[in-house]
Symmetry: C2
Subunit: 156 residues, 2 copies
């Protein structure tokens, strides 16, 4: 039993997004989060390369279940360069999602910790994110505290 559980854990690899992850269900995973129509291979590659240009200033991490060759969790963080806080930097976490079939294994926590660690290693004085009131307890377990409110204006 223990052995079997270990095997599952061992097969869950956390790493940065690769351009071949489209074939591993990356877009289908994002669709569990919000609107995301099918994206052509070309469009995917183009956006991947646009983001890659930012280097470590925009990091997308994924967890792959290597037994299945399937991306089961993801999240991103980008580093904002500011003048406030003595020319400080702030990390912004976005688009965190865990596959509905892979819940209860703390994958969300692993993603958020990976992204927060990345922001910290990049010299950020803080990392922020927006979430629903419902997800607040999860982020509190990840070491976050509620601060302000998020306002939005849609153009479409």
């Amino acid at each position: 039993m223990m052995q079997s559980e270990n095997s599952v854990e061992d097969s869950l690899h956390i790493r940065k997004l690769e351009v071949t992850d489209k074939e591993k269900g990356f877009i289908e995973l994002l669709r569990q989060l919000t609107v995301c129509d099918s994206v052509s291979d070309e469009r995917f590659k183009e956006r991947f390369e646009e983001i890659a240009k930012y280097g470590d200033d925009h990091c997308i991490c994924v967890i792959e279940d290597v037994r299945l060759g399937k991306i089961v969790a993801t999240g991103s963080v980008f580093i904002e360069k500011k003048f406030v806080r003595n020319c400080g930097k702030a990390g912004h976490i976005e688009d965190v999602v865990v596959d509905s079939g892979a819940r209860g294994m703390q994958l969300g926590k692993r993603i958020v910790e990976y992204l927060a660690d990345h922001a910290h290693s990049m010299g950020c004085y803080k990392v922020i994110l927006d979430c629903t009131e419902e997800n607040r307890p999860f982020y509190e377990k990840c070491g976050f505290k509620k601060k302000e409110i998020q306002m939005v204006k849609y153009f479409v």
Copy 2:
């Protein structure tokens, strides 16, 4: 009377941040928002150039009172490239502040509208920001609606 008011309005020019704005009180203005020690000319120029590398993906706007050669309002927006929303883009507004001596002239609204227009023109499907509950009515006047809550983790 009308003439005099027009003159004040006419002297308030909205534009993008320039590297010479440090001499026009840009850092002192940011200090009204949050912690911001004095920044050396070199450090300022370095950060200015780091941000300039992003081109239109990171826009800092200012309002200068040209009678006084003083920056009296500022705000920034950066464009996040996503995979969700069909490889959509989201604008993030940050660090909006109006000089305490220049309140009541709708400068905050001009700044926020400039930044939202910029995000729109860059093809963003939305623009978001975080603020206090106290500032919510101001942003509602600018066309924003409350959506989620902001969570933060500080490293310092």
